[in-house]
């Protein structure tokens, strides 16, 4: 037994993953190619953004970051919403079907009639859902690192890597939530739905908290979007606390999944 389930599950989704990679590369490239237009437009984006409601502005532009700089531009265009949302969608789709799909497809009997421990099955399925996210993030990094300078997009590549890592971990948080709910209930849709709802709720929380007095500080405590740095991540980096939380949450959720799955009656 050498991670056969992991390899099988990855092999099953390679077409979809290849498509996602191509899409993400083209998207990053498009944004990179558009940067010279922004930089040379002469528009005072700062004034433009200042007219927006504070909550809305902070959600898309890091405080004190200029939009027309490489760091501000990439932060707003890629890190504020787009890349996290895409990785989240890929991760949640994969993990919500990983175990529940074997059940609804009726193949779980065949799979678990082999001497494969349930805990191992869970871990391999989780890895199969999360590992591709690293690949997708690496593709974005490569596009910016290799082609970015040609468009005047020069950023600290180490910082970019950390920022992307944080986004991968952010998506992993919700992917693991989807795995937990779908595997504990046997229902794929429920897992995906709850993970999506949690993502939207914590995203909104992160966007609103700074401008709503009663929510002050709640985002730092409860929103993975806050931990991962948001739009100002390339300027400010990711805090160690944030990284720690982003790693701890998926591990706790994974442990809960193993526990819940070990105890369950699998549906025939």
């Amino acid at each position: 037994m050498q991670a056969d389930v992991l390899r099988r599950t990855l092999a099953d989704q390679w077409r979809a993953l290849a498509a996602w990679t191509v899409g993400l590369v083209l998207l990053s490239l498009t944004y990179a190619a558009f940067y010279p237009v922004i930089r040379h437009s002469g528009i005072n984006f700062q004034n433009l953004f200042n007219q927006l409601p504070a909550g809305f502005r902070d959600a898309f532009l890091g405080a004190g970051v200029s939009y027309a700089t490489p760091v501000g531009y990439l932060g707003t265009e890629l890190f504020a919403f787009l890349v996290p949302a895409l990785l989240l969608a890929v991760g949640v789709t994969a993990t919500s079907r990983a175990l529940a799909g074997e059940e609804s497809g009726g193949t779980i009997d065949l799979l678990l009639a082999t001497p494969l421990p349930r805990g191992r099955l869970v871990v391999e399925k989780a890895l199969a859902g999360v590992l591709p996210l690293f690949g997708l993030a690496a593709a974005v990094w490569l596009v910016i690192a290799v082609l970015g300078p040609a468009f005047g997009l020069t950023v600290d590549l180490g910082g970019l890597a950390v920022a992307l890592l944080a986004v991968v971990l952010l998506a992993t948080c919700f992917a693991m939530l989807a795995l937990l709910v779908s595997s504990a209930s046997g229902q794929r849709g429920l897992g995906a739905g709850i993970a999506a709802a949690a993502a939207v709720a914590t995203y909104v929380l992160n966007a609103l908290a700074p401008s709503v007095s009663s929510l002050q500080g709640v985002d730092a405590a409860a929103s993975p979007f806050h931990w991962s740095g948001g739009p100002s991540v390339l300027a400010d980096g990711v805090s160690w606390t944030g990284l720690g939380l982003l790693m701890a949450v998926p591990l706790v959720l994974l442990a809960l999944t193993v526990g819940a799955y070990e105890r369950r009656d699998l549906s025939a």
């Binding site: 193949t107 009997d109 009639a113 001497p115 494969l116 025939a268």
Partner: protein, 303 residues
């Protein structure tokens, strides 16, 4: 090394509730090592529930089971390593070819020689290069059988193995089952087909509403033979003369006709009948499935 257990499957007080529905009701079950045990019951009797408990896919509400001498839950990994299982509702990965699927399941079991898979495929006339999704029910069933037999397990748990196969393939499966027993394996075969159980099994248990209502020695039953003997006498004869004779289960009289249900030797019955004027005698052998049906009805009445 612990001594080899005498029982391949041993369930005690196995109970499984689904909400308010009791699927298994304090089931006791003993399957001896090296026998082909038929597990008879209609749909919903609890056959699949029992099997899925034995394989730790579901957990009993109470009670426990030992499989190959090991606890079915706590020692599920070694149990599954030594068991081959054909699910009742077999589903395969539609996008995979049979060869890929068997390769995958084989690797999860360690190493399975390719030749063994090829040999089984040849015997069952199975095309391994076909995509599982494009297969007919019978073809899929063959792939299921190959994966159950390919690691030469000590115990085979087959849930309705021949339900979707044509008679020729049914024979091939029965042959595989017998060969497995000859090599020392135990076979636990669930079925609702009485004829199949009568033909291949050594012993059979009848399950009804989650309870085992009877366990019978199939070969002994077959050897014993059971007959319905009908006499036409010259005059009405008292049924009491026949009641209580060895092997006599029931006696019925209508006018001068007397019908006796007798197992084994009919000697005593015939000799008593001979003391009257016998106008005619008819004897019909009771098929094994009728024997089972009777047990089943008795269980239903009791339940």
């Amino acid at each position: 090394m612990a001594a080899a257990p005498a029982l391949a499957i041993e369930a005690r007080g196995l109970t499984k509730d689904y909400g308010r529905i009791r699927a298994l009701d304090e089931l006791g079950l003993s399957v001896r090592v090296g026998e082909i045990f038929g597990y008879l019951g209609s749909n919903g009797a609890g056959k699949t529930t029992t099997i899925r408990c034995l394989l730790d896919l579901i957990r009993p509400t109470s009670g426990s089971a030992r499989v190959l001498g090991l606890d079915s839950h706590l020692e599920s990994i070694p149990v599954r390593r030594r068991t081959g299982y054909l699910p009742g509702d077999l589903r395969l990965y539609p996008h995979m070819s049979a060869r890929h699927l068997l390769d995958y399941l084989g690797r999860l079991r360690g190493h399975i020689p390719r030749e063994r898979i090829a040999a089984l495929a040849e015997r069952l006339d199975s095309d391994l290069d076909q995509r599982c999704g494009a297969m007919s029910h019978g073809q899929r069933q063959k792939v299921g059988l190959i994966q159950a037999f390919m690691h030469e397990p000590d115990l085979l748990i087959l849930d309705e193995p021949t339900a979707t196969l044509d008679p020729l393939m049914q024979d091939a499966v029965h042959q595989l089952v017998r060969e497995a027993r000859e090599h020392g394996a135990t076979v636990f075969l669930s079925s609702h087909d009485l004829t199949e159980v009568a033909r291949v099994c050594d012993r059979a248990g009848i399950l009804r509403m989650g309870r085992l209502v009877a366990v019978e020695d199939v070969t002994a039953l077959a050897e014993e033979g059971r007959h319905i003997v009908t006499f036409e006498f010259g005059e009405p004869v008292d049924a009491a003369e026949f009641q209580g004779l060895p092997g006599v289960a029931s006696v019925r009289t209508t006018g001068r006709t007397l019908t006796v249900d007798v197992s084994g030797d009919v000697d005593r019955v015939v000799k008593i009948a001979a003391s009257h004027t016998v106008r005619n005698v008819r004897s019909t052998e009771v098929e094994l499935d009728e024997v089972f049906r009777d047990y089943y009805k008795a269980g239903a009445d009791a339940g």
